[in-house]
């Protein structure tokens, strides 16, 4: 696996083998755009995680605190946060209400940061659920084939064929009312776990199918035959032989899945079936901002831009990851 790269120091007598991971990492590092966007995502995440600090020290208010009849001093004059006609103040260069207020007198900047936390949190956790489920289902279906595959594939088909938004809204509305109790576990209607579970479920076929396809192909390879001959049980084969080979696919899909999850969460929240009021998420903020898009377009534009930037960074970075992990990528680029 020695690759003649310029990264080697002066040629030595021994030829050092470099693992595919090293090579991938080297390729990734060369892709500056991908690294750049990866850093952007981290910055956005840090920004959102800093929400409590901003709320405490700069804005002096929480994300859900209403200040409809409060007054603040702007340019030396005492101004209503929300006018008697119901119009909130706009953005301005100040600590409190940097991006202005919404119709309930809440600080939009604070909500933006907390909303980001919620949206990213949901995106990541749902991706974890999707990945775990997809890997398990894909492995079982690909390895055992036969009727196991038939049943699992049909289940995936059902989820796949279900119009996503309708499923999301239906479940979101149902569960929001009564919450969920599985066994002894109680989830209240307003919990974030409900959108997380729904979004996690929806994208399972998206990842499980490619995993299944790869497992089907890998299964025919000699090293699996060898492992079977050695007497290894199916579970060990799946974990120690097959899993490492699909890891790179899974990593890429997982990254892109986070992006898709955030988009789906914003759509569900926009429709009222995702994050429940009064909690903020970028999707609910767009929905709220729609009410006043004429007089305060920034309330719609800003949360949307945040979604676009975050999702874009994940997509670009995931793309870079894919190119880095796929050995044929370099060949492609060289014509």
């Amino acid at each position: 696996m020695a690759a003649p790269t310029t990264e080697d120091a002066a040629p030595t007598a021994d030829v050092e083998g470099r693992s595919p991971w090293h090579l991938a990492w080297a390729r990734l590092r060369r892709n500056r755009i991908a690294i750049g966007f990866g850093v952007l995502f981290l910055l956005i995440a840090v920004f959102c995680l800093a929400a409590p600090l901003w709320a405490e020290y700069v804005a002096h208010t929480g994300p859900n605190q209403n200040h409809i009849t409060d007054k603040i001093t702007i340019d030396g004059r005492l101004t209503n946060v929300v006018s008697t006609d119901g119009i909130p103040i706009g953005p301005g260069l100040r600590g409190r209400y940097l991006l202005g207020a919404d119709q309930n007198g809440r600080d939009v900047m604070v909500r933006l940061m907390y909303g980001g936390r919620t949206s990213i949190y949901i995106g990541v956790l749902a991706a974890v659920i999707t990945t775990v489920l997809a890997v398990v289902v894909g492995m079982l279906a690909g390895y055992y084939r036969g009727w196991v595959d038939a049943v699992l594939s049909r289940i995936l088909d059902v989820i796949w064929a279900f119009p996503v938004l309708l499923l999301g809204i239906a479940l979101g509305t149902t569960l929001a009312l009564g919450g969920l109790s599985i066994g002894g576990l109680q989830i209240t209607g307003n919990s974030l776990w409900i959108p997380i579970l729904i979004i996690g479920l929806v994208y399972v076929p998206y990842m499980a199918r490619p995993v299944r396809g790869e497992i089907l192909a890998l299964r025919e390879k000699e090293f699996v035959e060898a492992a079977v001959a050695q007497g290894k049980g199916p579970l060990r084969i799946m974990v120690s032989e097959l899993l490492p080979n699909i890891i790179s696919t899974v990593i890429v899909f997982c990254t892109l899945n986070i992006a898709n999850n955030m988009l789906l969460e914003s759509a569900l929240s926009f429709l009222g079936a995702g994050v429940r009021p009064p909690n903020a998420s970028w999707g609910t903020m767009i929905a709220d901002g729609y009410q006043t898009i004429y007089t305060a377009p920034h309330l719609t534009i800003v949360p949307g831009l945040m979604i676009v930037l975050t999702v874009l960074s994940l997509n670009v970075f995931g793309d870079g990851l894919r190119d880095a992990l796929d050995p044929r990528a370099t060949i492609r680029l060289e014509r």
Partner: protein, 550 residues
């Protein structure tokens, strides 16, 4: 009734031109004396299409607005704005009913020689048919008429006829027997639920797609639910006028096209640019200041009879404690809620709204006073601080819910907000088996201008229904119930009004509700409309017979 605006939770985006509205070329005909051009076409938009285009079934504000001038009941309300419009006057009947001494028998006579819009004669037995339809088509309004002798048996199928109503088609006599005297019965006779319809109308099904022929100044010529409907002058309306029905107003335009448009902002722009002549709903909060400022020559605020309040479940902790309820009354800030409504909510602390007979202003809980509220809460020291706050998902109601939720948290509770889809909100909180019904949003718009319409469904202990409950606070005060029953049997004299006012105060001393506002509505017309003539009726919203082109 509640203002069930069935607005989809999904919001439409902004618009500049009025969406989906046909052009409105109006023809102005020249008149002689008598002021104002008569004729022309008008187009009207509303955010929610009428629930039913059927006089016996429609029970929303939009439905009543459209149908009031299409179907005339035996009695009707004066076509005037303000308090004058609250009076019941003869419609298709010759005079007000003759009520027997014991208050249980009502006698009316139908005017002779009147015809429906399709030429068929209007008969006395058509009134009975209409009441029968109420029960057989399962109308929500049927409950008002259950007091008629034999109605319940008919409803349950035990009888083929309603024994309490006898009519004579030759003389036009109609006699109605009630089980108990009812001081609201004249008001109820004035609602479209009791408007006669010919027996060709389906008895047990709604007739939205093919409405029955009209007995009012307009007839509905075309329905494409839930998008548009067309109203035109009723060619047979002169038969009603000639028979002496002077209180039923005549049309001043030839045609009205009613369209649904889910986008309030688009409607505002449409009226501003004169592509829409009238919008039923008030402009949204963010457009209102601009309309008020720039279009004051064709915009005005209008009164309406409604109360917005937070209900508090008096049967469960923590709201079973009087001090907790009083604390809430001290804490809420009607001005904040007014701003959420764009400045259209008048503060109140009464059960009855201004304009309702029996209204009297008093202030038991001057405020907002957070200190007093916290002090009361400290005294009450409720053990159960976990409460669920309910609201529906219409944008302004959602904001009200969020305000209330934050307020309760500031008071030291651990509140959880539940936002429920508009169409199922009232059935959800109206189902007493729904868990965690602690407190939440509601409103009530009058069904008819009599205080009993507020007290009975909302506060009477007998009316805590297992489903479709409206007494959300689950109030049960037997002494007040007895007063209510006594007062309803009497006619509405000044003394009775005073007693209703005291009933109001007695309930608020128990702080059964936390009322905060009466919503105002608006009239906003295009340039071509005669602004002075058009008005909003206190019960039936905009009076379409008041539409006239300049």
């Amino acid at each position: 009734m509640r203002r069930l605006r069935r607005i989809v939770t999904i919001l439409a985006a902004t618009a500049v031109t009025g969406a989906g509205v046909a052009g409105c070329g109006g023809t102005k005909s020249i008149t002689g004396a008598g002021g104002g051009a008569k004729g022309g076409e008008v187009n009207v938009t509303m955010t929610s299409f009428p629930d039913y285009v059927d006089p016996q079934l429609s029970y929303t504000v939009e439905g009543w607005e459209v149908l009031w001038n299409v179907y005339t009941p035996l009695l009707t309300y004066r076509h005037q704005k303000g308090d004058a419009g609250v009076d019941v006057v003869p419609g298709l009947a010759k005079d007000m009913p003759q009520v027997s001494e014991d208050g249980k028998t009502y006698k009316l006579t139908l005017r002779p020689n009147m015809k429906y819009s399709d030429g068929t004669p209007i008969k006395a037995s058509d009134f009975t048919y209409a009441i029968k339809r109420l029960f057989k088509a399962n109308s929500g309004g049927s409950v008002f008429y259950e007091g008629i002798v034999g109605a319940k048996d008919f409803a349950e199928g035990k009888s083929d006829t309603i024994t309490g109503i006898t009519t004579d088609d030759n003389t036009g006599d109609i006699t109605i027997a009630l089980e108990r005297p009812n001081g609201t019965f004249n008001n109820i006779l004035g609602l479209m639920f009791a408007a006669p319809v010919p027996p060709t109308t389906p008895l047990d099904k709604e007739s939205t797609n093919n409405p029955p022929p009209a007995s009012g100044p307009f007839v509905i010529t075309r329905v494409d639910a839930p998008n548009t409907l067309t109203m035109e002058r009723n060619p047979q309306f002169n038969t009603v006028k000639d028979a002496g029905a002077t209180e039923v107003a005549d049309a001043q335009v030839d045609k009205i096209l009613v369209s649904q448009n889910k986008n309030n902002s688009a409607q505002v722009t449409g009226v501003q640019q004169n592509t829409i002549d009238f919008m039923s709903d008030p402009p949204d909060a963010d457009r209102l200041p601009e309309v008020k400022a720039k279009f004051s020559d064709r915009f005005r605020m209008e009164d309406s009879i409604n109360t917005y309040y937070f209900w508090m479940n008096t049967q469960k902790a923590p709201f079973n404690d009087l001090k907790v309820r009083q604390a809430i009354n001290y804490a809420i800030d009607p001005e904040a809620l007014n701003r959420v409504f764009g400045g259209r909510l008048h503060p109140t602390q009464q059960i009855l709204p201004p304009g309702m007979p029996g209204y009297d202003e008093y202030k038991l809980y001057p405020g907002p006073d957070m200190e007093k509220a916290k002090q009361l809460l400290a005294e009450a020291n409720p053990a159960d601080k976990d409460i669920t706050v309910w609201t529906d998902d219409e944008p302004d109601r959602k904001r009200i819910g969020e305000y209330y939720h934050d307020l309760l948290n500031q008071l030291g509770f651990n509140a959880e907000l539940k936002v429920i889809a508009g169409d199922v909100y009232f059935t959800t909180i109206g189902n007493t088996s729904t868990p965690d019904l602690d407190t939440g949003f509601t409103d009530w718009f009058q069904d008819f201008p009599h205080p009993d319409d507020f007290f009975r469904p909302l506060l009477n202990g007998e009316n805590i229904l297992p489903t479709n409950n409206s007494n959300f606070s689950q109030v049960k005060i037997p002494a007040n119930d007895a007063t209510m029953d006594k007062l309803v049997e009497q006619q509405l004299t000044d003394d009775v009004r005073k007693q209703y006012a005291e009933l109001d105060k007695s309930y608020m001393e128990q702080a059964v509700w936390a009322p905060y506002g009466n919503e105002q509505f608006t009239t906003f017309l295009s340039d071509r409309m005669n602004f002075d003539k058009s008005y909003r009726h206190l019960l039936f919203s905009q009076d379409y017979t008041s539409f006239a082109l300049k």
